[in-house]
């Protein structure tokens, strides 16, 4: 192969100027994630019970969004029915408690059953293309909720109403809060591992170009099923914790264990924060759930429409998510050395131009 000719040497120097920043990104993301979770972890110390309740929900949604990120963000396959795993987790725990079996058995069984369900469901459903996969998963979640309701699983019309368990220690709200927090931390670590692992590379390759991935030796189908199962695990454990905590819920309808708006929330939060990033889901979950909780208390009437408007604005103007927006802002254009303030200025210009450009 011929050596680079003279006019190529200039290119070479310029390209070398690009610092290999990419490989350090995960350290920043992981570190920042831990810091954020740690700060949130201080909430119970304030003694404010209503804030504690709100933030428990927020952290729960962090877990849900992080779980969805595996199949929707990394693998690029938008599943719209992940609430099914949440519901499975909730009902597994409920059924275990109703039968007076060991307290924590439900929590152990929940991810196992949900994972199995994800595997069996994934086998036929992941053969479907984009749109169909999305709605098939949506429909399965809806159908599951309906089945539980009509077959009176766990109670009439599927309504769960558990008695507080008689245990040796007191079950405070803080306990559940920290339960979700630890779960979120574990999922954060899992996500970070994924970005560095061979499995993660396969998923990203599948997301970017499935045909090319296959031609390179990736058994795309099985990796997709794997991602789907992976997304079910933290979601189911969160569902189980939800059951332990609330002790009373319905299968369908608002706030139900199979409520479709939970599925949508997962997607939107990950989306807003940045699908396929480590921090994205956490960021998105905090922003949206905080807004949601705040407006549902103070502005009940406009709560629904407000969420709708928010979704519209995000999808039109911020489809790549906040994290990627930040990355784009501080990125140095190919081959040019720039200081950070200069980069940000140019980045802002670039990003604004992109946001305002018409699609057609």
């Amino acid at each position: 192969m011929a050596k680079p000719t003279p006019d190529r040497e200039i290119e070479a120097d310029a390209a070398l100027a690009l610092a290999p920043r990419e490989s350090k990104d995960w350290r920043w993301s992981l570190g920042l994630g831990i810091v954020i979770l740690a700060v949130i972890g201080l909430i119970p110390l304030t003694g404010d019970q209503s804030a504690l309740g709100m933030w428990t929900f927020i952290v729960m949604y962090c877990v849900l969004a992080q779980g969805w990120n595996f199949i929707g963000g990394f693998a690029g396959h938008a599943a719209f029915g992940n609430v099914a795993f949440f519901g499975i987790g909730a009902y597994t725990v409920s059924l275990v408690l109703e039968r007076n079996m060991p307290y924590l058995l439900g929590l152990v069984l929940a991810p196992i059953i949900a994972g199995l369900f994800a595997f069996l469901l994934g086998l036929p459903v992941l053969r479907l293309r984009g749109h169909y996969f999305a709605i098939a998963t949506l429909g399965i979640a809806e159908a599951l909720g309906q089945v539980i309701q009509s077959k009176n699983v766990g109670g009439t019309a599927g309504e769960i109403s558990l008695n507080p368990p008689g245990l040796n220690f007191e079950l405070t709200n803080s306990l559940f809060f920290y339960g979700f927090l630890v779960l979120s931390l574990l999922t954060l670590l899992g996500t970070t591992w994924l970005t560095r692992s061979r499995f993660g590379y396969a998923l990203v390759a599948i997301r970017e170009n499935e045909q090319a991935a296959e031609a390179l030796g990736i058994a795309t189908y099985w990796y997709k099923v794997g991602a789907f199962v992976l997304s079910a695990l933290p979601t189911a454990v969160a569902g189980g914790l939800f059951a332990y905590w609330q002790l009373s819920f319905d299968p369908v309808g608002e706030g139900g264990a199979f409520d479709v708006s939970i599925s949508v929330a997962m997607v939107l939060m990950t989306f807003l924060g940045g699908a396929g990033t480590i921090l994205g889901p956490i960021l998105g979950a905090i922003i949206i759930e905080y807004l949601d909780q705040y407006t549902s208390i103070s502005f009940t009437a406009i709560h629904g429409p407000l969420l709708g408007v928010l979704i519209i604005l995000v999808t039109i103007f911020l489809p790549q998510g906040l994290i990627r927006l930040v990355q784009e802002l501080i990125r140095a254009p190919a081959g040019v050395k720039q200081s950070y303030p200069m980069r940000v200025r140019q980045g802002v210009r670039r990003v604004t131009r992109f946001i305002l450009s018409n699609g057609i």
């Binding site: 929707g72 938008a78 036929p124 459903v125 053969r127 479907l128 293309r129 984009g130 749109h131 169909y132 999305a134 709605i135 098939a136 949506l138 429909g139 399965i140 809806e142 159908a143 599951l144 309906q146 089945v147 309701q149 009509s150 479709v260 949508v264 997607v267 939107l268 989306f271 009437a301 406009i302 709560h303 629904g304 429409p305 969420l307 709708g308 408007v309 928010l310 979704i311 519209i312 995000v314 999808t315 039109i316 489809p319 018409n358 699609g359 057609i360």
Partner: protein
């Protein structure tokens, strides 16, 4: 049994109306309009209002609903969806979901969640054939639905505008080179889809009750109907409607199933059909 068959066919035709607009938008623009259900309910409200406030004949109300919804749909597409049309499908998916949330919640805030219906003196009129009762209104609605399907089919294949819309659906950039305004065509397509949803809503108001709570269900139904019947032709909506209605009417009669499982049945049927015939029963890869 005869009554079941009558119910099946009439319901199937009505379902076709629900799926028509959805099929058009999906087939030509590759957009899953998650706001379909909300648009249907909106159409129902428009028809209801035109009957109770303007005292117009409910059948005229169908036209009014179509007109209003067309304008709304055109605006939605032109202002919002056109901006994201080149983005990955998840983006448009979420956008239409946001729209759905917005519309159905606004409707709920303004009109409350109470059930409403257009009640006319002839609402319960009907006649008997072979032991089965055929309600007049349902029959009229079914006939209108089939007429709409035929009209859409003719519009797309015989008129200049229809051809232009098809062209844009097949190859956006090539159509642009032919001098067709893509933004306008897309807006027209969505507008027509919304108008059809409005018609379905008006028909809904005449024959059943409606409330903003149902919007999500109708969107899901529209999807199943179109996915079953197949994209590529308006008649797919009719085929899908009949198939779906069949599952709904005869499904609960299967021992062990019982009632209250509509969605579950629908999706099991859907997944099975999609696995066997990925393009749906009448589906073709391209709309024509």
């Amino acid at each position: 049994m005869a009554q079941d068959i009558v119910n099946w066919i009439l319901l199937g035709c009505f379902y076709a109306a629900i799926g028509l607009g959805f099929s058009l938008v999906w087939g030509l623009m590759n957009i899953l309009n998650l706001a379909q259900g909300s648009l249907v309910i909106l159409g129902a409200y428009v028809a209801y209002w035109s009957y109770t406030v303007l005292h117009l004949n409910p059948f005229v109300g169908i036209l009014v609903a179509m007109g209003v919804l067309f304008c709304i749909g055109y605006a939605i597409q032109y202002v919002m969806i056109n901006r994201v049309i080149r983005a990955p499908f998840l983006v448009t998916f979420m956008l239409t979901f946001g729209l759905d949330l917005l519309i159905s919640n606004v409707l709920q805030d303004v009109f409350t969640a109470g059930y409403k219906a257009i009640n006319t003196p002839y609402s319960s009129a009907g006649f008997e054939v072979l032991g089965a009762r055929i309600p007049l209104l349902n029959l009229a609605v079914g006939a209108i639905a089939v007429a709409l399907t035929a009209a859409l089919s003719l519009f797309l294949s015989r008129t200049r505008i229809g051809n232009a819309i098809l062209a844009v659906g097949m190859d956006r950039d090539a159509a642009r080179l032919m001098g067709i305004s893509v933004a306008n065509s897309y807006a027209l397509t969505f507008g027509i889809g919304a108008a059809l949803a409005g018609a379905a809503g008006a028909m809904l108001a005449m024959t059943l009750q409606f409330s903003p709570i149902f919007s999500g269900q109708f969107t899901l139904f529209a999807f199943v109907i179109v996915a079953l019947g197949g994209l590529g032709t308006p008649w797919g909506a009719l085929a899908g409607g009949l198939l779906f209605a069949f599952a709904e009417v005869f499904g609960p009669l299967v021992p062990g199933v019982g009632f209250g499982l509509d969605t579950a049945i629908a999706f099991v049927v859907l997944v099975l059909v999609l696995i066997l015939r990925p393009y749906g029963v009448l589906g073709k890869p391209f709309y024509s």
